[in-house]
Subunit: 145 residues, 2 copies
Amino acid sequence: MASGKHVKEMETLKEHLAKHQLKFTRQRELILGAFLRQEHITAEAMYHQLAKTDPHLGLATIYRTLNLFCDAGLAQARHFGSQTQYDNISHKGHHDHLICTGCGKIVEFENCDIERLQEEVAVRNGFTIQTHRLELYGLCSRCRH
Amino acid sequence: MASGKHVKEMETLKEHLAKHQLKFTRQRELILGAFLRQEHITAEAMYHQLAKTDPHLGLATIYRTLNLFCDAGLAQARHFGSQTQYDNISHKGHHDHLICTGCGKIVEFENCDIERLQEEVAVRNGFTIQTHRLELYGLCSRCRH
DNA sequence: ATCATTTTGAGACAGCTTATCAATTTCAAC
DNA sequence: GTTGAAATTGATAAGCTGTCTCAAAATGAT
């Protein structure tokens, strides 16, 4: 099928399936391919996205499969607002947000020093970080008057 | 009423109410008092807690009021699992969270260095920080096996 | 090809949160 | 202190996400 792009992840999935007596299906292959193209996505969004090419792919199957990816260590569920975001673990370059409470403007940033300190905090508490979320709320220069 | 314990927060609430043509009610005062005694709580938990002394306080009112506190900057909503936790902002400065994606355990921490770096990022982008949210997701020592 | 086992799809169902609306409360103006 | 427009409340209905159910289909070892 589709090029040798996501071979490593496909292998990870197959290993997980084998280890748990689960089967490799057309749907699981399809959903993994679509998932790996995203940085993060909701089940609903993927449902609509895949409906174009696969109208009969059920929403329940997508939920089940994304949760399977979490078990296999390929994805990570994050609850955001009222929905669950499934983050692509293999996708690096995490970006954090500065959010203006006045006008809603969002500025993305990255800061290695902060990430390093986060790692220290985690280790000190016996945690292994998978992902994180950092949002700074405040007023941008325009809104501060 | 209840001692001069949460005067500052009560003032913050009253200012917010005045600014938005909202009214100061018995329920809002009651819920704020109960809320400030917690570090974080769910609407459901507060409902049961307050039911002992106020059996006719509606769940919808608690949700509405906790969301109001978020608008007023007294609370911050955090979605975990299928529920929403309302964090008490005023509680000892600001605490961030280490969240175990395996068992749901939450460890709170504070780190001045991270806060300082956040401030730097904000200044560099012309922002004045009002509050922030930092959540580290990963596996705790037990769940890592 | 056979067949036990797993998976799928569609919809029913369940948990958490918000919307609805008549009755009540607040509060500013008398 | 009354009055009355506007906001709030409580009870419940409705909405949204996500999971469960189960008959039909697909998988994969033999």
